[in-house]
Symmetry: C2
Amino acid sequence: MALRWGIVGSGRIANDFTCAVQIHPEKNHKVIAVAARKLSDAQGFAKRHNIPNAYGSYEDLAKDKDIDIAYIGVLNPGHLPVSKMMLDHGKHVLCEKPLAINKKETEELIAHAKVKGLFLMEGLWSRTFPIYDILTDQIANNTIGDVLQVNVEFGYPLAGVDYANVKEEAQCATMNIGIYALQFSQYVYRGLKPISVTVSGHLNKYGVDDATTIILMYPNGRTSVLTVNTRVQLENCATVYGTKGMLKIPLFWCPSTMITPSGTIECELPTSTANFTLLRSNGLAYEAEEVRKCLELGLTESPKMTHAESLELAELMNTVRQSLGVTFKQDGYSMDY
Amino acid sequence: MALRWGIVGSGRIANDFTCAVQIHPEKNHKVIAVAARKLSDAQGFAKRHNIPNAYGSYEDLAKDKDIDIAYIGVLNPGHLPVSKMMLDHGKHVLCEKPLAINKKETEELIAHAKVKGLFLMEGLWSRTFPIYDILTDQIANNTIGDVLQVNVEFGYPLAGVDYANVKEEAQCATMNIGIYALQFSQYVYRGLKPISVTVSGHLNKYGVDDATTIILMYPNGRTSVLTVNTRVQLENCATVYGTKGMLKIPLFWCPSTMITPSGTIECELPTSTANFTLLRSNGLAYEAEEVRKCLELGLTESPKMTHAESLELAELMNTVRQSLGVTFKQDGYSMDY
């Protein structure tokens, strides 16, 4: 039977996720409802995407008994409360990254899903791209020897994006795009915990970081250098350096290509003629399918992005923000999250 | 009249520098002497390079009245004492990088040259490559807009090089190759002083760094991220990111190519059939010619690598080593250099 999706939010990412789900055959995935804070927005969205039900509040969608899983595509501060509401109404949840604003919120959300016995996944779509599996294989097969250095650059100008880099929306370079660089490092060095997290950054006029560099040092001098910038376009490659060679992944957060010592590996993205608004959003189809597979297996978390990994990321982002002095109201009145 | 060179040291870099000088016509440059600690080494070197005089001590070369300028190609701990000796005997000095072990030594050497009224230059050959002038022009011409991010990677395995990464020779990743990354950042952001220097690194069994990352933050959030590693081969590009595009310089420490938004610029290196031992050492010919031009103009320092810049670099390397806890006997018994 098809997995029945409810889309929460009607912005660009909700649009793209819906387009991506609809790449799949209807026997596997169906988008059956959408909710926005304004009913007219939801109705417009439903019409554009041929979705049967449109709701003018998130709660109305939560109450729709036909929905199996809610996709949470609202702004960051809504991730915890809206995800919890969906869980409270018996829905599984796929929530956009970051899962929540800080470690405390993340723990709260994961605990809530566990109590309800429902599926919860942070929408870190990168992890569901086939190139990530190939990366694991390449490292395991010793293609580049002992991995000692990971360099990731992620930068594009976000000054013109109204919700981005604004404290009230709990947005900053680290949580907006830095999270992708952090997850990449954690993915490559899986099983290793950083010994140290060294940070330097620049804060914008809103008091949030817009240029952040993070050095993660793992045991035996294994190093990751993550350059994040929301003022300039960077090359946005991730490179994994080993004692015998390197693996280079252009557009590492949504990759279709990996350059290896023995040649370039290509994984064409799912094709679609839908109106995507963000780069390579058709790749969100991988994430939707990963969710379906997990639910079919009766899992409550995805092995591609586990709860433990979401917590690890949340803790790292806490550390980075603490180093930079970037706090949100969700952190409370002290830096002691 | 030709500039008459005396070569101090008979190792690989001295070999390559001599080959490079001899690319130039004899009317401009002549290598007239070489000195090594063992006379037989100097004699073998002189024979191979067709040099008239060979000395078994550096002092003998210092006393040779026909020499205009000494090229110091000895190991790091010798840079200060041997350069001073040459200055004491009225020779101009071109000394391999790093000019000295720490800031205090660097100040001492520069002061010595000033007192003697003689030319002194740190052999940071990179600065004399034509691509560096073109880089300056590109930035000045606003080709890439406002420069906000500089990323440099420099890594190659040095574990097998016996003098490298050994505390007794005052060698470490920072001073061995990190210096090139540091000078690049300082070159791009000339006139700006770093607001902060943030460092993370790993120390080898000798207690010196073999993987070092340096984040330099300049005013207005201008950032440099320098990744240095002597355990793995990195890509070794420098990239300058601006608000309108990027400039990419492969092999940034001895470049012949720059990739710009409007195409690739090539500057062929001087050609030679000599037996160079290190990568692109024919480019040392640029450095030799820069020295000749400076002396012809009666300068005591090169505008391409000024004393102030050598001091800046020495100070940065002090800071980096202090952060890492890497000290040499030249630093004295405290970390207070």
